[in-house]
């Protein structure tokens, strides 16, 4: 039986790992679940170290979490951080079956393990000592007993790399569209013909998440980067900002001797508020 320290450490890590796993499964956004998974992995790494597989724990953190998880994050970025799953299940009875299956599998596995009545764990200490530490021991094993498997996995990695390259690399078969063709296409499609307005035009905030203002004073969403917009991080134009802008304009008009313009009502503000949520909901339904 192990020391109580390990017991405490186990229960802490166990909770983190399970929480991370559940978080990964239940989060809407891919990025959140990626991070949860990373957490779980790190918790597991510590478990490995606790169980005497020190090298493996390090490798887990460095290689597995560090590299592979980052690859995931990279692809999530590439593919679409916004593509969150919708709640509605397309396949009939899939969710119910999955949950029932899961419970069944869990019960079965636990029953299997319980049935095994594992008592005495000899521990890895002696094995590490015999070969002068965990890493030399592993090295001896890899290069003596498992050298054939080692070579095969090497070949596997190479083919995987080549495979990935073959899959994603595409000859630019069609001619790159020149500027003229892009313009004609935009006119033909009738989308945004003129270049998009720049964000943050007014004096106080020229940050990239503040929308530029149209001549009639309403904020232009298209001036904000679509990714920020999709993530709902577009800055709201608060009423006090508008009020201060109103004072600036009336002060300038007074300086120039023109009549003072009428103050902005809150109407457009609501409009701005709404577009964010509406944007959000529209994505949900896709």
């Amino acid at each position: 039986m192990t020391s109580t320290g390990e017991a405490v450490q186990f229960w802490v890590l166990a909770v983190i790992a399970v929480g991370g796993a559940l978080g990964m499964v239940l989060c809407r956004k891919a990025v959140h679940s990626a991070l949860c998974l990373a957490g779980t992995m790190i918790a597991l790494a510590i478990c490995y170290m606790a169980e005497g597989a020190v090298f493996l724990g390090i490798v887990q953190i460095v290689v597995y979490t560090g590299a592979i998880m980052m690859l995931f994050l990279f692809v999530v970025m590439l593919v679409g951080v916004s593509s969150a799953d919708s709640v509605k299940e397309a396949l009939k009875g899939q969710r119910v079956a999955a949950v029932l299956g899961g419970i069944g599998m869990g019960v079965l596995l636990c029953a299997g393990i319980a049935n095994a009545h594992l008592r005495n764990f000899t521990g890895v200490g002696a094995a590490n000592q015999a070969s002068g530490g965990n890493v030399p021991g592993l090295a001896r094993l890899i290069f003596t007993q498992y050298v054939w498997a080692f070579e095969v996995t090497g070949a596997l990695l190479i083919t995987a790399a080549v495979g990935a390259m073959v899959l994603t690399h595409r000859e630019a078969t069609e001619v790159r569209q020149s500027q003229r063709e892009l313009a004609e296409q935009r006119v033909r499609l009738g989308t945004q013909v003129t270049p998009l307005p720049a964000p943050g035009v007014y004096a106080r905030h020229n940050a990239v998440d503040a929308p530029g203002l149209l001549p009639d004073g309403t904020p232009a969403e298209i001036s904000v980067n679509p990714t920020l917009r999709q993530r709902g991080q577009m800055r709201r134009l608060g009423s006090d900002v508008l009020r201060r802008m109103g004072e600036l304009e009336s002060g300038a008009a007074h300086w120039l001797g023109r009549k003072t313009p009428k103050p902005r009502t809150g109407g457009e503000l609501a409009h701005v508020e709404r577009t964010g949520e509406e944007q959000q909901r529209e994505v949900e339904s896709k």
Binding site: L91, Q94, A98, G101, G104, M105, L108
Partner: protein, 631 residues
């Protein structure tokens, strides 16, 4: 001399083959060829008869075997002919009456363009009937039996363009076929019991068989006889058989074919004598048919159907006599021969009446024909006197003996049978007198036929008249000839055996009774049809007459039980086949199609549902491994 026997059958058979396959060339001469061949076979018959008379009674029967027909281990069927007194009598009757009717048909069918085929069929009938009476084993008899059925089918349905004739022919053949089933079962019973079905060995070993088998064979033979001789259970076809031309009715349905049943019973006398129950059944059938035919005969307005009813009742007499055992066989055959003559004469007379009256059959449209057709009137009259048993004529002798034998049966049965026969004699007198009065006496009730010109009855040509005269001559003197110091009894008793019946009434009392009964019948008929004019439209009449007009509802019974029952059964079976067996087969095909359609849907292309099925598989695997460990 005995190799002449096969010639008897071969001559008409050759005639039939020639006439049927001869084609157009024989049309002009066909009918004379047929008649000639009929007379030729009659000549051969006479020669054989005189040679047989020459021999002593012991070695009169002659036996000839031509060739082995069906040799299969124990089953030995040969084509062999046997000529003894019984078959000799039949041969003479068949060829004699047959040739006369051939002669008559030359005149009667003069204007029919298919005459050659008619004579072909008549010859075929003669051949088949001769084969029937000459066969030396039951299987060959069966061949003749069905051959005769076929000939009657062809001849009844000769005028095929008439749908009623075709239906009547089919009905006759089918009812006969039911009788034939009885005969084939009897032959099978014989084979399983005796190992053979030839007459001599079967009769020799009949006594060793069990009572049950003998009764079985007897009853089956009786069923066959009923089918062929139109006795009660299977009598519905005789009335409709009148659709055929009159010579056919005369030859087949009066003189020869219908008597085949009586021949079968008399021939199998050895079996019947050992099976009292079968004899009782025969007697009962005879008595019932006797009354049935008489009643039907009274109510029919169609002259031929009336005569058909009378034929049925006269054959009832013969079957009754045959059923009485040794005391009755001889008189049954005697009555058969005399009946053959006068009934054929009556039918030919009716034919010539119809010939003169533009084929009108309804007696209510006759009347007063005696002045216009004197010869037919005389010959028909003599036949009439013979059939009602007028003392001195042939009918009197043969029928009297049967009545005496019926009384002689002894015990209460004797009395019942005797009274039956007496009542039958009375009713026979009644309906025959009715026919005579309605046809030849009373005032003219002629009515123009379909296309307008009214009938002008004339005497039939000589070629039709001659046979009628000869038959009338026969029906007058034949009875007497047979009874002079009971020559006929001595002639037949060696074959069928003869026993003197000890009847409670003496012969004279029986004769007196029959004469009284006869006068009674004639008187009643004269009262009803002689004095009062015969109404053109048939009166409603009592319930019995109305039933009798419909042949005592025999056809309705057959229709309800057999025809409609059969068609329901067939329709149900057709439905069963369509829905049942075919349904089963198509059902399985549909089932397979359906399930494959559903299973296809499981593969819906979604990765996650495949993952789910994989997961389910893993689950099951884990469960089984655990189970294995736990067990």
């Amino acid at each position: 001399m005995d190799n002449l026997i096969p010639v008897l059958v071969a001559v008409p058979l050759l005639g039939a083959a020639l006439l049927l396959c001869g084609g157009r060339r024989l049309d002009r001469v066909g009918h004379w060829l047929g008649t000639l061949l009929a007379f030729a076979s009659f000549g051969v018959g006479l020669a054989l008869f005189f040679s047989m008379l020459g021999r002593s009674t012991a070695d009169r029967p002659v036996h000839v075997t031509l060739y082995t027909w069906i040799p299969v281990n124990g089953f030995q069927a040969d084509v062999g002919f046997q000529l003894d007194q019984l078959s000799m009598t039949f041969v003479l009757l068949i060829t004699g009456v047959g040739s006369l009717i051939h002669l008559y048909s030359v005149g009667y069918m003069a204007h029919d363009q298919k005459r050659r085929r008619f004579f072909g069929y008549l010859n075929l009938f003669l051949a088949a009937m001769l084969l029937l009476v000459l066969a030396d084993n039951y299987l060959l008899l069966y061949v003749g039996w069905e051959g005769v059925g076929l000939a009657s089918y062809l001849l009844i349905g000769f005028w095929q363009h008439k749908p009623s004739a075709a239906t009547a022919a089919k009905k006759a053949f089918l009812v006969n076929r039911v009788g034939d089933v009885g005969l084939s079962i009897a032959v099978m019973l014989m084979f399983t019991t005796f190992g053979t079905f030839a007459f001599t060995p079967v009769f020799a070993h009949a006594s060793q068989a069990t009572q049950a088998t003998l009764t079985g064979i007897g009853l089956m033979l009786l069923l066959a006889a009923c089918g062929k001789s139109a006795q009660v259970p299977l009598q519905s076809w005789l009335g409709d058989a009148m659709e055929g031309p009159t010579p056919v009715s005369a030859l087949i349905h009066a003189a020869t074919m219908v008597t085949a049943g009586v021949y079968l019973i008399t021939r199998s006398s050895a079996i019947f004598n050992l099976a009292p129950t079968a004899q009782l059944a025969t007697v009962v059938v005879g008595a019932v048919t006797l009354l049935f035919g008489a009643i039907v005969g009274c109510a029919k307005d169609d002259i031929k159907k009336a005569l058909a009813g009378s034929t049925m009742s006269q054959i009832g007499y013969m079957v009754l006599a045959a059923g009485l055992g040794p005391i009755g066989y001889v008189f049954a055959i005697m009555h058969l021969v005399t009946h053959g003559f006068f009934k054929a004469g009556l039918f030919l007379g009716a034919g010539s009446v119809m010939h003169g009256m533009n084929d009108e059959v309804d007696m209510r449209k006759y009347g007063g024909l005696r002045k216009y057709m004197p010869l037919t009137f005389v010959t028909f009259g003599l036949g009439y006197l013979a059939i009602i048993g007028f003392p001195g004529l042939s009918g009197f002798f043969s029928k009297d003996k049967i009545i005496e034998a019926a009384f002689g049966h002894g015990g209460t049965e004797g009395w019942i049978l005797g009274t039956c026969t007496l009542v039958g004699a009375a009713v026979t007198a009644f309906y025959m007198t009715r026919v005579m009065l309605m046809t030849f006496f009373g005032e003219k009730r002629w009515v123009p036929d379909a296309d307008g010109h009214d009938p002008h009855p004339h005497e039939s040509p000589a070629v039709m008249g001659a046979p009628m005269v000869i038959l009338a001559f026969g029906s007058v003197f034949l009875g007497g000839l047979f009874s002079i110091n009971s020559s006929f009894v001595h002639w037949l008793s060696p074959v069928t055996g003869y026993q003197e019946g000890h009847s409670p009434l003496s012969t004279t009392t029986v004769t007196v009774c029959t004469t009284v009964v006869l006068l009674l019948g004639v008187g009643v008929a004269w009262m009803m049809y002689g004095r009062r004019p015969v109404p053109a439209v048939p009166p409603l009449g009592s319930l019995l007459t109305r039933a009798a007009r419909r042949d005592l509802l025999q056809d309705d019974f057959n229709h309800v039980v057999l025809v409609s029952g059969g068609s329901h059964l067939t329709r149900f079976l057709v439905y069963l086949e369509g829905k049942g067996l075919d349904g089963l087969v198509n059902g399985i095909a549909a089932l397979i199609g359906g399930t494959s359609g559903r299973v296809r849907k499981v593969q819906n292309g979604y990765v996650r549902s495949y993952a789910l099925s994989m997961f389910g598989g893993a689950l099951v695997l884990a469960a089984t491994t655990l189970l294995m460990r736990a067990v």
